[in-house]
Amino acid sequence: MIAHHLPLDMLVDYAAGSLKEGPALMVASHVALCAQCRTQVAAFEAVGGALLEEVRPAPLSEGAFERALAGIDSRPPAMPAPASQHDLAAILPLPLRRYVPAKARWKHAGGGVREIGLKLGEGPHLAVLLRIPGGGVMAKHRHTGLEFSLVLQGAFTDRGARYAPGDVCLAAEPEHEPLADAGVDCICLAVIDGPIVLTGRIGRLLNPWLRLKAKRAAARR
């Protein structure tokens, strides 16, 4: 049972097609696991469908239909997206799989936490898979923007709430320090909007990759 969902306005923005790639990946991944949010997104998409019927039609240039016909005759049918061969594939919702190449390896991020950076083609966001050992702590950190974490395996507790697979933890300003349940490693998709600032003793040493990405992201803005 999923207890922690995405904010409604993010689902609207997703349905309207205005989200950048990082947050769109977060929504698509959560929605793949969450029937409630999927139903909600479908309702918002229906608004898009109704608005499409509402526009005044614009005339197309001459021969447009013939070009479309040529298009359907010449192009091969779409191939299904190749399934990721990565060991993680079983726990990755489909939209996320193509972001995790078969050869992706966990890298040490310090403090026992490991990570796989995901490549985004657009926007100022960072996307990363994090793996916190069972019973472990993610270094204390804060961010200038929002951080969304979607649990894919295991569970963690943060500021008094528990997050299990499918749940999204939304961390805004204050510093936080998620604690993984004992048992299996906790694996999350984290999407971060705005540079991360690591605090605390481990944090200062931790995570050169995230720091580098944050700098690049700031430069891309």
Binding site: A42, P57, A58, F65, K119
Partner: protein
């Protein structure tokens, strides 16, 4: 026949009966609208080019207009229309009218194509198919899904037309112009909270139930 509709006595039309007549009209329209659903099925099953032509005639000019509202050139909009219509042809087999009306399904195809175009430099966008295939948890139960999806589409359109102007405006900016809540707030010089509440009010008027609303 649904519960709640009773025949009036002495030749008077009771409100319930009037409602029934209105309902019948909208069902008529709904059936008419689902002609597009049938056409998509014809494309899926028989690779029917005449059906494709009819779909093109209805949707392509609307898609073009829709794309241009976002500020793109006529050429760029047509490019997206072409891609979307070819995509419609290829993916017709994945159309499921119990989940979405024809226009909603086509809207999502065009939306994804538009995102693809924007991200062309990078990675192909999250395709709607991905997420269709990714249905790992079942959709919430919807008995009579097909009729409901189509009917609610008709109802949505008439409710849209009755929206107060300021609510309609924010919806149009979100959907036509691809603006996020914060983009809209910035553009209109409004606090983000105001934009959020306008969009929620609009969705409420469209009788879209907002579940698990936080903050």
């Amino acid at each position: 026949m649904r519960a709640g509709f009773r025949l009036g006595t002495a030749g008077r039309l009771w409100p319930a009966q009037l409602a029934l007549q209105v309902l019948e009209k909208s069902v008529e329209k709904a059936i008419q609208e689902d002609r597009f659903g049938d056409l998509i099925d014809a494309v899926a099953r028989r690779r029917d080019k005449a059906a494709f032509r009819e779909l093109f005639r209805h949707f392509a000019p609307r898609l073009k207009s829709f794309c241009q509202r976002g500020g793109g050139s006529s050429e760029a909009a047509e490019e997206i229309v072409q891609e979307a219509m070819v995509s419609l042809w290829r993916k017709a087999g994945t159309f499921d009218r119990s989940r979405a009306s024809a226009s909603t399904w086509i809207y999502t195809i065009a939306r994804n194509k538009r995102i693809d175009t924007l991200r062309r430099a990078g990675k192909p966008a999250l395709d709607g198919d991905d997420y269709a295939l990714a249905r790992q948890a079942p959709m919430e139960e919807r008995p009579d899904g097909m009729l409901e999806a189509v009917q609610s589409q008709e109802k949505l359109r008439s409710l849209l037309q009755d929206l107060p102007r300021e609510q309609r405006l924010v919806l149009e900016k979100a959907y036509y112009e691809d603006k996020t809540h914060s983009d809209i707030a910035h553009e209109l010089g409004l606090p983000l909270g105001t934009v959020k509440s306008r969009i929620r009010l609009a969705l409420g008027r469209l009788r879209i139930s907002l579940q698990g609303v936080e903050s």
